[in-house]
């Protein structure tokens, strides 16, 4: 809990609340502060919620995430200079995962760009990027209008093998035909003006629905009434880690490049426009990467956590960025930055857990098979 709640300092911001905050309290959620927001970390329990998403369908309040639009005749061209992926390969009605880099190639944020048309882009950013990403894009976009839209939208993720049928029955027009990483405007549970995207952060089939804040409670309650399990940030984190999705702020930041973070597949260095950071990344690629983000399992006993040292022959050579006990595998898994010569699958190293070295091994990711 941050000090803002306990002190009389009026300069400190108090945590923000989503339109679903009251619903979370009513459902018995435990609330924690995340990126300046009071968010549910769990309702009944992380393991139960995790299983609900892997086996049935779970719903997440992700209204803390931000939205930015880029509009105008130069929108696409302007955005191409901001993002590492190639938006010319993204069709209208399609979405694309990407990152924003600084001049040094460090990751400012990971984002999803929804392409309505070459003159209209809708961008979803992390909660921590609401102001930072908006300001960066506004300052660096040329010939297009960049607007802050974060307060215009709540967002609910519906994830799991039963998600498609559940969401489709609530949508007008239907969305069952939407391909992965495609989106459509729709009325959902009687709430007009929603954006329905076949995306997610769990490795399961599912949707993320951007909903006007005034309709968020109606949509949430409808989904619960239809049998979806409310899930908190705890399950969201264990689900994403099982499929090795990166978490901004943990697994990458402005001091790590997308190449080091294993995101070369969304870094299009040959894109004719170039992008902010592309020169630095080309140079890094030419020189060879010194460190890489890898997936590992602890073969010894314990659980690796964010910030634990990676050791080789007793020397500190890297750092764990994410770690948990995988609810599906029932094994301790994690992501860590290690020197490139230790990044091959099968390589053994140690993780320092409470002062003691625990054996670990580089394994292939995802740890758990992705459906999507």
């Amino acid at each position: 809990m941050r000090a803002a709640h306990d002190t009389a300092s009026f300069a400190d911001p108090v945590a923000l609340r989503t339109p679903l905050y009251e619903a979370h309290l009513a459902a018995g959620a435990r609330i924690v502060e995340f990126a300046g927001w009071d968010m549910p970390v769990q309702y009944k329990g992380v393991l139960e919620e995790h299983a609900a998403v892997r086996e049935r369908v779970g719903i997440f309040d992700v209204s803390h995430m931000g939205e930015v639009t880029i509009d105008g005749a130069g929108a696409l061209e302007s955005a191409q200079r901001l993002v590492t992926n190639d938006l010319s390969k993204c069709a209208d009605g399609q979405a694309q995962y990407s990152v924003l880099c600084n001049e040094k190639g460090g990751v400012i944020d990971d984002i999803i760009v929804y392409r309505y048309s070459p003159s209209r882009l809708f961008i979803c950013v992390n909660a921590s990027g609401r102001e930072k990403d908006f300001t960066w894009m506004k300052d660096h976009a040329e010939g297009a209008r960049v607007e802050q839209r974060s307060d215009d939208w709540a967002q609910i993720a519906i994830q799991g093998p039963q998600a498609a049928a559940l969401v489709d029955q609530l949508c007008q027009p239907k969305v069952i035909d939407l391909a992965y990483y495609h989106f459509r405007d729709a009325t959902v549970a009687g709430v007009p003006g929603c954006i329905v995207a076949r995306t997610g952060y769990t490795g399961e089939d599912g949707f993320e629905v951007f909903v006007p804040p005034g309709g968020a409670r109606k949509l949430w309650d409808t989904l619960v009434a239809k049998g979806a399990t409310p899930c908190g940030l705890g399950a969201r984190d264990s689900l994403r880690l099982e499929v090795a999705y990166r978490l901004y702020g943990n697994d990458m930041d402005e001091d790590h490049t997308p190449l080091e973070a294993g995101l070369a597949w969304i870094v299009k260095l040959e894109k004719p426009s170039g992008f902010i950071g592309s020169d630095a990344l080309k140079q890094q690629k030419a020189q060879g990467l010194k460190r890489r983000l890898i997936g590992f399992k602890l073969t010894g006993k314990g659980i690796a956590r964010h910030g634990y040292p990676v050791l080789k022959d007793g020397q500190r050579v890297g750092e764990v960025t994410s770690g948990t006990m995988s609810p599906v595998l029932k094994e301790p898994i994690g992501l860590a930055y290690v020197p490139t010569d230790l990044s091959r699958i099968g390589t053994a190293f140690d993780v320092e857990v409470r002062g003691k070295p625990v054996a670990a091994q580089v394994v292939k990711t995802p740890f758990v098979e992705k459906i999507k």
């Binding site: 435990r30 992380v46 393991l47 705890g234």
Partner: protein, 111 residues
């Protein structure tokens, strides 16, 4: 608590605060634990918490099956979820502990 022997675990309240327990680390039989000092570690899906000894003494038994399947704590912290047995070096320590009823009263007053 039976004579000089104390059975140690965590309360249902502590378990609820932790969330789902997924990992447990306990001392070896024969190890010495000291009142107020950590004797082990319990980890939930999100949090790491040290286990503090309520009394001093020597570990005479550990619940091995709980170490192998720590989720047992989630279902039944007070009985099957026992962790270690201690032969108390100064059984008078125990007089300062709260009964379950006193503990519940304390929680009710604080929450």
């Amino acid at each position: 608590m039976r004579g000089n022997t104390a059975t140690i675990g965590i309360t249902a309240f502590a378990k609820d605060q932790l969330g789902d327990v997924v990992y447990l680390e306990l001392p070896e039989v024969g190890a010495t634990v000291t009142r107020g000092q950590p004797f082990g570690v319990v980890e939930s899906t999100k949090a790491v918490s040290e286990l503090f000894a309520p009394v001093s003494g020597k570990v005479t038994k550990i619940n091995k099956s709980l170490v192998d399947a720590p989720e047992g704590i989630n279902d039944d912290p007070h009985e099957k979820g026992w962790m270690i047995e201690i032969e108390m070096s100064s059984p008078a320590d125990a007089n300062e502990l709260l009964s379950a009823k006193q503990y519940e009263e304390l929680l009710a007053a604080e929450h």
